[in-house]
């Protein structure tokens, strides 16, 4: 007070400021887009970032690994059966003398392809059904939800096995179909829940007032806005699918030999685990690392996409 009293003021200090000379809504914070924000949070999650790199490496080997040496996955060579890993056969050979390096990555191709399709197809089915159910609502929604309630009560693993037998076992396609038929309900439920929340939001109502068709609104407004959360769902269900593939191969319903898959390799090596542990451990490590990485990536994405957990 006393200080300001003593202050010497400029001649124009108390002249009014011209209109608009001070920026009203100054934007001080860095502008961040939604996905930019997600990426920034994701990057801070070390395990998730490392997993992303490891997964990238895995995909690289799965794609190029089988081409790195001169062997193929199906030729038997009885002169060199059950060799431990060496300079010629980097991962050793199995009881028929087949090169395990090639078989492991070839098996990875099949396992990962199954994982991708058997995750995306049921996801697409679920999102469509859930989106329609949630958006249209009313009796249709009631009906679809009751159907889902009923289907959720059906033991899925048994049905997968039954479907595999009926559709013809030993084929990657039937595996994908069986997993798709039994696995779309969760995603449908989740999408419907999200759509119900979104439906009343302003940007959807605005499109409606402008006369957009329901199909357009579902496809352009609702589905894109549920994608974030469903992406987490997708990464989280992929490890499950890899497990299903391994399980079905384990009980003899997976892909037929000589085509390898990780489940197939684990099954056949499990029988000779005590004598040739490397044959068992290598595909196991592949499966475990893949499941581990996908889970950690999923965790990272979930944390990044959940605004409440964002710092």
């Amino acid at each position: 007070m006393n200080e300001s009293e003593k202050m010497i003021f400029d001649a124009n200090a108390f002249d009014p400021l011209p209109e608009g000379s001070l920026e009203q809504d100054q934007i001080v914070r860095k502008k961040t887009s939604y996905w930019g924000d997600v990426w920034r949070t994701f990057k801070k999650n070390k395990p998730a970032v490392i997993s992303l790199w490891v997964m990238g490496l895995m995909v690289f080997f799965v794609v190029f690994g089988p081409m790195m040496n001169e062997f193929n996955y199906y030729s038997n060579d009885y002169s060199c059966t059950n060799q431990t890993p060496n300079m010629v056969h980097w991962f050793g050979t199995d009881n028929l003398g087949r090169d395990l390096w090639t078989r492991v990555w070839e098996g990875g191709r099949i396992s990962l392809l199954i994982a991708i399709f058997a995750t995306l197809i049921p996801e697409a089915i679920g999102m469509t059904i859930g989106g329609i159910s949630g958006y249209i609502g009313g009796k249709l929604d009631m009906f679809i939800m009751r159907v889902i309630d009923v289907l959720m009560g059906i033991p899925s693993l048994i049905y997968m096995i039954l479907l595999m037998i009926v559709l013809g076992k030993g084929n990657a396609m039937t595996l994908v179909i069986a997993i798709s038929i039994t696995g779309w309900m969760g995603s449908a439920r989740s999408t419907r829940g999200l759509v119900l929340q979104l439906k009343t939001r302003e940007f959807v109502v605005a499109s409606e007032t402008l006369g957009a068709s329901p199909a357009w609104i579902i496809a352009k407004r609702l589905i894109p806005n549920t994608l974030g959360i469903r992406v987490v769902g997708i990464t989280m269900s992929m490890p499950g699918v890899i497990f299903y593939e391994a399980f079905l191969s384990y009980i003899g319903l997976g892909v037929t030999p000589p085509s390898p898959s990780w489940g197939q390799l684990i099954k056949s090596a499990g029988e000779v685990f005590r004598y040739y542990p490397y044959q068992f451990i290598i595909p196991c490590v592949c499966v475990s690392i893949t499941m581990l990485c996908l889970n950690l990536i999923g965790d990272g994405l979930r944390d990044a996409l959940d605004p409440k957990l964002r710092s």
Binding site: M1, N2, E3, S4, E5, F9, D10, N12, A13, F14, D15, P16, L17, S21, L22, E23, Q24, D25, Q26, I27, V28, R29, K30, R40, S311
Partner: protein, 358 residues
């Protein structure tokens, strides 16, 4: 005078670390509360009023929020020196709070009775049946119908007004010295708002509690507060008795707040007034007056220099020589318009809008 002082906050500075920078939520705030008094801290959302009282009762997370400076004195004892467990003995006991939204601030899976009894059992170490008696007593005091039956209900089974009464009961059960009310009526219907205000006013007489009311609604303040602190961008910009602030406000921001209360005596043709613009981002608060960018009276000096606190005496004259106690209780505003030099050059400021002083 001194022993009448219950709670005193001196030069409190609170900031939060975020990835975008340090948010200076509270920037040197000083206020006090006397015994048996109700004060109101008024301001827009985000002005730091909630942060400052949550700091007083020790609810800010230690993780990223921190008190950079200041003192919080409860009957002369600095709360910032207390350990977490010592502080916990005061929370819900001597310092209690009513939160804004009775829909989300009650535990959905616990009967309201249990929730009311909880602080009493915690702080007074009594049996459940004793706590239940006390709870029923409190519920009768706040005139909740059928207290026994309602205590067995869950929050979702009660109406909004009833839930807010439950929050009040929960806050009062330990006979707190200070009751903080953080926007206690914002989430309620207008008719229920009036009930809750009436209830809180009646409580002032029934229980020996001082109240710190936080709100952005001048209507609520008029009905409850003895003194008013107007807060803007983490600072107190005006303070005074309720009557003085309502009838003779000195800060353009207070004018804006008062003008934005809908009034029945105004002509229909008048638009509802709102203060243009948004508060400044507290990551980088402006160098000069924080309100300058939204103020239609802004002058050159406002841009560069923080306005000093300018006090007024009973006759509404600018009073330069106040200090200490007298200064704290007097009406003051932080605005260059009231500076003697400004008045000398430009003449007294005229408040536009409904300057009828009512």
């Amino acid at each position: 005078m001194e022993n009448n002082r219950l709670l005193e906050v001196k030069n409190l500075v609170v900031s939060f670390d975020t990835f975008q920078g340090v948010v200076q939520a509270v920037r040197g705030v000083t206020w006090h509360l006397n015994k048996k008094e109700t004060i109101a801290i008024v301001g827009e959302s985000g002005c730091g009023k909630t942060v400052s009282i949550q700091t007083v009762i020790g609810l800010n997370s230690k993780a990223n929020g921190s008190v950079r400076n200041g003192e919080i004195l409860l009957e002369g004892k600095n709360l910032l020196d207390l350990s977490v467990s010592e502080m916990r003995k005061l929370q819900g006991n001597q310092l209690s709070i009513i939160f804004q939204d009775p829909f989300t601030f009650l535990n959905p899976t616990m009967t309201v009775g249990e929730q009311i009894m909880e602080p009493f059992i915690q702080h007074y170490h009594v049996s459940k049946s004793e706590a239940r008696e006390k709870a029923i007593e409190i519920l009768k005091l706040i005139s909740l119908p059928q207290p026994e039956e309602n205590m067995k209900r869950y929050p979702h089974q009660l109406s909004g007004g009833m839930r807010q009464r439950i929050m009040v009961a929960m806050a009062l059960i330990c006979n707190p010295k200070v009751l903080f009310a953080d926007e206690p009526t914002t989430a309620l219907d207008v008719t229920i708002q009036a009930q809750i205000i009436e209830l809180m006013n009646s409580l002032k007489e029934k229980v020996d509690t001082s109240i710190v009311l936080i709100t952005h609604d001048m209507g609520v303040v008029a009905n409850m507060a003895d003194r008013i602190y107007v807060m803007y961008a983490g600072q107190i910009v005006e303070h005074g008795d309720s009557d003085t602030v309502f009838h003779n406000p000195k800060h353009p921001y207070t004018w804006g707040l008062l003008n934005s209360v809908p009034r029945l005596d105004k002509k229909v043709a008048d638009d509802l007034y709102s203060i243009p613009g948004t508060p400044p981002d507290l990551i980088a608060p402006p160098k000069g007056c924080a309100f300058a960018a939204r103020c239609k009276y802004a002058m050159n000096i406002c841009k560069d220099c923080q306005p000093p606190q300018i006090h007024f005496d009973e006759n509404d004259e600018v009073c330069l020589s106040l200090s200490g106690q007298a200064a704290e209780n007097s009406h003051y505003a932080s605005c260059w318009l009231n500076h003697p030099e400004c008045i000398r050059r430009n003449g007294p400021v005229k408040r536009e809008g409904n300057a009828d002083g009512k």
